[in-house]
Symmetry: C2
């Protein structure tokens, strides 16, 4: 009850030292990052998986993850993993959720932060000859190692929602794409059919697709025009507020 402001308990005030030792003593948690890397190929949404490097999970596939280094930010760790796996730096990356159940990992307490990344498979094909890595059709992913199935499902749900409110989808496409490819992308992510004319109307109305004056090549039918996504234009025109709706 001595000096200062306590909340109902004397001695509530801590010094940095107090906390440092508290941190040190409670310090039994390891932190990892798992990346759910989506791609799009053959009109299908794909996810990049690696064979588990843990004997206990032999033959199972898992997400790309690693422990976070002591001097490494979470986002940095995620970018590092992406870089290691795909060789690229400037990727779309977003944190999705953190999974922290006590016994989610057999090696002890490991809390993992899930990140999603969307990449254009064509550009990154080269880097993943490694046969431990494989692009799986996202609709038949199952039985992953650890709790990665759950993480994957949360991430897929996140993607389905996010792709409708933000133009992430373009990261999955080549920089030049036809509207058909764009529509296929949405249809396969959302697992629905969309009306072609309305789809076009909608995207043209959003006014960030730029007709680059080229056409598809080597298609066995009438080629479609190619467009690119103009992020600047998007930024200018994007909506602020959508309205209560549930």
């Amino acid at each position: 009850m001595s000096e200062v402001k306590t909340r109902e308990i004397p001695g509530r005030v801590k010094t940095l030292k107090n906390i440092q030792s508290e941190v040190a003593s409670i310090n039994k948690v390891a932190l990892s990052v798992d990346c759910v890397i989506f791609g799009f190929d053959e009109n299908k949404l794909k996810v990049l998986l690696i064979r588990s490097d843990l004997k206990d999970f032999a033959c199972k596939w898992s997400l790309l993850g690693d422990l976070v280094k002591p001097d490494e930010g979470l986002d940095d760790a995620a970018y590092r993993i992406l870089k290691e796996r795909t060789g690229l730096n400037d990727l779309y990356l977003e944190q999705v959720h953190t999974f922290g159940e006590v016994s989610r990992h057999p090696a002890g307490r490991v809390v993992t932060v899930a990140y999603c990344s969307l990449i254009n498979i064509q550009h990154h094909k080269l880097k993943i000859l490694d046969n431990e890595l494989h692009w799986h059709d996202s609709d038949i992913v199952n039985d992953l190692a650890f709790d990665h199935q759950r993480i994957f499902e949360a991430s897929y749900g996140w993607l389905q929602k996010r792709v409708q409110e933000h133009p992430l989808g373009f990261s999955l496409l080549p920089s030049k794409f036809s509207l058909r490819e764009l529509q296929n992308l949405y249809e396969s992510i959302l697992n629905i059919k969309l009306d072609r004319r309305n789809f076009r109307k909608k995207f043209f109305a959003m006014d960030f697709l730029v007709d680059i004056g080229e056409e598809e090549k080597n298609v066995p039918h009438r080629p479609g025009r190619l467009y690119k996504f103009d992020y600047e234009k998007y930024e200018k025109r994007k909506k602020k507020w959508t309205g209560i709706d549930f």
Copy 2:
């Protein structure tokens, strides 16, 4: 360079033991949970803050947080904190984001998971006589301890978005409320004005408000009818898909 885990190189497979020691050695990260507890009172959105218990941040306010225990899940930790502060168990709680910059905490590496909770201040008033705790108007929160300002802002942004797509808002109101209160709630969270007639039409159309046949008491004007939120009805009728819109 010795033995272990490299990828794409023979010997990539690890045993549980390998990982355990790896986990133990990298184990320099502490984990905490910070709860952003929103309330609604006097037609204003409030957030519950506590005076920092760290001398270095004397006089600053901070979110309600604590270290996660080694045998405690993240969600459990968040519920524990809520319980400690409000005395209640069955609250709305949702994980928002994890903040893991290396030097966000002066005591060392502490990664924190932010949770948001929405509570009805009336019901919980009793528990927080503690004068270290205070309900702040959410629109004038500033200069919090640590990086809590940033966490708060992310949480507030989350709330503004989330409240439009999910009926969380009702958790902030008494179980019986008038439509005016509901509208005030949305107006103050979103910081906009809404048309009263359209607002009513919209919520009645959603068909989960039940007229309980009572009226407001002690208001210095014509009393409004009171309603309750029927979660069951909501569950049945909720929309699946809103549409691409950005």
